[in-house]
């Protein structure tokens, strides 16, 4: 048992178990914590778990005195109404908060009587995304005291075969890494971590735990140049596509760099540092241009250059001289970037088959030239006209992220936050690495038209090295014996068609035999992916479409019990004489990023 300053702790985490089952990248994680109150008075027990932002909570329960109280997923408005009553009684805010860059914190507490125990159980699901050639599963471990029975169990099943599996936990010293057991046999992997009480201790005879940090599992599957893996279970299919052995397609990048006054100091220095490194990493077949803006727009040498050694050397020299001053004219800088690419195409300066992109880095709100965000978005959309991908990197705390996100999504790109921290240059390079190597263009997934329905997105502009495309859908033809999937795309020089055919009954049998699988995973994966894609589409949708999207997201979230930005989980806490209601909401990315906390300020939900 755990002790505190020589005496028994009143509240003891008797057991904590984190069990995850991953099937074809879809992870289903259950966290169970058992807390005992050894005191002879009631105590408040806390259950605090950090889960990935990309995950959806699907279930939560508290078992007290043998009675289980289950959280119920409801439409957000309905939940809020219920919650308002609690708020009017002076209760605190919701149960989930943003916690740092990648995690959300779920926190609940309950009063437990003397010598009683409570069991908390939280379930969440996520589709692991392939990022720079690996799937990453992050489990944040923070029990805050020694735990009698602590256990992490992760079972992975990947029909394509697992190429490698790495486990890393930053709280494990070298001599303790052997506690992590890792087995890998073809399509299955098992990671197990069960430290004893002694192994959890920070030092002999002390009561502090070493378990404080991230337990990270990284793996990839075997791949070749084929149509990928298609799986069919219980009438739903999922198709994973990330072929290997393709030649990269040259790219043309215009870097649009904000050097307004607010960038001065660390941000400008970090930007310069990252740009120098990024330029150095460019392939010699690529082309690039640099635009810097404050309230004026300046173009480095007013054209696009091939990334030859000489040009890159010159550009690096220029980048090192960029300093911060003035206002923020995003509109004219972006329009100028599009014009630069247009002209280069007109002059036949760029390879016929290449990917053209604009990478905007800014830390603030537009306040010079056109400063209305909606009009800037319209202008950029109109001039780019779907020809060029726009990636927006929002640097720091004051950025209007929502504005950047819409601008990126409307132009086949994505937005990303760059957190103001010492590793900001690495974050910038990390993002660049994701889009540095295009492999395929205009990828189209085709399935028999009358045999499937409600497919997730099946057309993609690009596939980048290290990433993966996932398509899922329903099979509506009950007599279908084989599901055929065709992938049509363009490589650097040729047109490519790949074909896969999967025997439906055979596929079902194989997967049903796997002990690792939770039977309906393809259906839940389909629902998860559909919701994620609709949420993204909703960001830049017009009013009417937005309503339809909202209705559909809500319908699916409620049906599959996902806590998404449109639903909440209502948790009723059993207390002695009353039942208090709390809600678990999913925080959205457009919420302001909390500034880091400083001594003297108490900030709970930031890192």
């Amino acid at each position: 048992s755990t002790e505190e300053h020589g005496k028994k702790r009143d509240l003891e985490i008797h057991a904590m178990k984190i069990e995850s089952k991953v099937s074809s990248r879809f992870a289903h994680t259950v966290v169970i914590s058992q807390v005992l109150n050894r005191a002879n008075v009631s105590k408040e027990a806390f259950f605090e778990i950090e889960l990935p932002k990309t995950a959806f909570i699907t279930n939560f329960s508290m078992t007290l005195d043998g009675v289980t109280h289950v959280g119920v997923v409801k439409e957000k408005e309905v939940a809020q109404k219920q919650y308002q009553q609690a708020v009017s009684r002076g209760q605190t805010a919701g149960l989930v908060k943003v916690s740092g860059r990648k995690m959300e914190k779920f926190k609940v507490s309950v009063n437990i009587g003397p010598n009683k125990k409570v069991i908390f159980e939280l379930t969440y699901e996520e589709l692991l995304k392939r990022h720079l050639g690996a799937y990453e599963m992050q489990i944040r471990v923070k029990p805050q005291q020694l735990v009698n029975h602590f256990q992490i169990d992760v079972h992975i099943f990947e029909p394509q075969g697992i190429a490698f599996l790495n486990v890393d936990a930053n709280f494990l010293t070298n001599n303790l890494t052997s506690i992590v057991k890792k087995t890998l046999t073809g399509t299955k992997a098992h990671v197990s971590f069960k430290p004893t009480l002694e192994q959890q201790r920070k030092c002999p005879d002390c009561h502090e735990t070493i378990l404080d940090g991230d337990f990270i599992i990284k793996y990839d599957v075997n791949r070749d140049l084929s149509a990928g893996s298609v799986q069919v279970v219980n009438g739903y299919f999922v198709h994973h596509f990330a072929p290997a052995n393709l030649a990269r397609i040259p790219k043309n990048v215009i870097f649009v760099i904000d050097h307004s006054g607010s960038m001065s100091g660390t941000k400008m220095r970090q930007t310069n540092e990252a740009l120098v490194k990024i330029l150095g990493d460019m392939d010699t077949k690529d082309h690039f241009g640099i635009i810097i803006f404050d309230d004026n727009i300046d173009t480095w040498k007013d054209t696009i250059f091939q990334a030859t050694l000489e040009n890159v050397f010159e550009a690096k020299k220029f980048v090192k001289t960029i300093s911060a001053r003035g206002g923020t004219n995003i509109n004219d800088a972006m329009v100028k970037a599009v014009r630069l690419l247009d002209k280069a195409y007109q002059d036949k300066q760029l390879p016929e088959r290449s990917v053209s992109m604009i990478i905007l880095l800014t830390d603030g709100h537009p306040n010079s030239g056109e400063s209305n965000p909606t009009r800037i978005q319209q202008n950029v959309k109109n001039v780019a006209d779907g020809k060029y991908n726009v990636y927006c990197l929002g640097f720091g705390y004051d950025v209007n992220y929502n504005f950047l996100e819409i601008m990126a999504l409307e132009n086949n790109g994505v937005a990303r936050r760059i957190y103001e921290d010492s590793d900001a240059p690495l974050q910038l390079q990390g993002f660049y690495d994701e889009v540095a190597n295009p492999l395929l263009l205009d990828i189209e997934f085709q399935y028999p038209e009358n045999a499937i329905s409600e497919s997730t997105q099946a057309n993609f502009k690009h596939l980048f090295a290290g990433s993966e495309i996932v398509v899922a859908g329903k099979i509506v033809d009950n007599s279908l014996d084989y599901l055929r999937a065709d992938v049509i795309a363009k490589t650097a020089n040729e047109n490519l068609t790949l074909q896969a055919e999967v025997k439906i009954s055979g596929a079902e049998n194989i997967t049903q035999q796997q002990q690792y699988i939770f039977g309906d995973f393809t259906e839940r994966l389909w629902a998860y992916l559909t919701i994620q894609q609709l949420l993204e589409k909703r960001i830049s949708a017009e009013t009417d479409e937005k309503k339809n999207l909202t209705d559909r997201i809500l319908e699916l979230s409620l049906k599959y019990s996902f806590v998404t930005p449109l639903t909440s989980m209502v948790v009723t806490k059993p207390e002695e004489n009353k039942n208090d209601t709390f809600v678990a909401d999913k925080p959205s990315e457009d919420e302001k990023v909390a500034r880091p906390s400083f001594p003297g300020h108490s900030m709970v939900d930031s890192d």
Partner: protein, 239 residues
């Protein structure tokens, strides 16, 4: 490897073997006019039994279309397409097609590969999979010309020299040394040759059992039927 050549307006066929050493690369087709080349590398059995003549097969083909800056290497393991400095690798386990203007490659998973160059020429490479634990045999490849009418008259190579119509006269059919395998005399390319009636397999339609093609077998590595001798066709590299 064995070769089957249609003669006399496809009414009959001639066949011959080429015995070579494993590792040797033979020129199969060369067309200097279109800058098109097919070379094949020989492989042997997994082990050589004493006093038994060693059979060789094609284990790898290199196809070069210099006009399109395309090269294709087909082995029993994979298919590699080179375009300039770029390289794309397909496993035989995928069903895929790759097209560049009129040039196309279609792979039928674990079966065959069809290479088409517009309406110039079409070739098929058949994959012969052998049980991987077989003590002797290993996977090998077969090469078939479906269409070559647009290749030039200058086309040569072990197969290429026969893309022009071959006229052969067969006469004096008589009992041969083996019962049921008559001998005959054939006049072709100005040579008078003794040939023996036999069968060779065409694996295009049935890659497991093949289809028997009756043909007149030319002895001694096709001596007199092919131009020169087999070593004339040995080249130093696949491309």
């Amino acid at each position: 490897p064995h070769f089957i050549i249609s003669i006399n307006d496809r009414s009959d066929a001639i066949c011959f073997n080429i015995d070579g050493k494993p590792g040797a690369i033979l020129n199969v087709v060369t067309d200097p006019s279109t800058d098109f080349v097919v070379n094949g590398e020989l492989i042997g059995e997994k082990k050589i039994e004493k006093n038994v003549k060693m059979n060789t097969y094609f284990g790898k083909f290199g196809i070069v279309n210099n006009q399109m800056d395309m090269k294709v290497e087909v082995s029993t393991k994979m298919i590699t397409v080179f375009h300039g400095e770029d390289k794309i690798i397909f496993p035989w386990s995928s069903t895929a097609s790759l097209t560049k203007e009129s040039f196309s490659i279609s792979i039928a998973k674990e079966k065959n590969l069809t290479l088409t160059m517009g309406d110039d020429a079409t070739f098929v490479i058949v994959l012969h999979r052998v049980w991987k634990n077989h003590p002797l045999h290993r996977d090998f490849l077969g090469f078939y010309t479906l269409d070559s009418h647009r290749l030039s008259n200058r086309t040569h190579g072990l197969l290429g020299q026969f893309y022009r119509e071959v006229n052969a006269e067969i006469y004096n059919i008589r009992p041969g040394l083996d019962q049921g395998k008559p001998d005959a005399t054939m006049i072709v390319k100005g040579h008078k040759l003794r040939v023996t009636r036999g069968y060779q397999k065409d694996y295009r339609l049935d890659p497991k059992r093949g289809t028997n093609i009756p043909c007149w077998f030319v002895h001694y590595n096709g001596k007199g039927f092919i131009d020169g001798i087999p070593t004339d066709y040995v080249v130093t590299s696949l491309f």
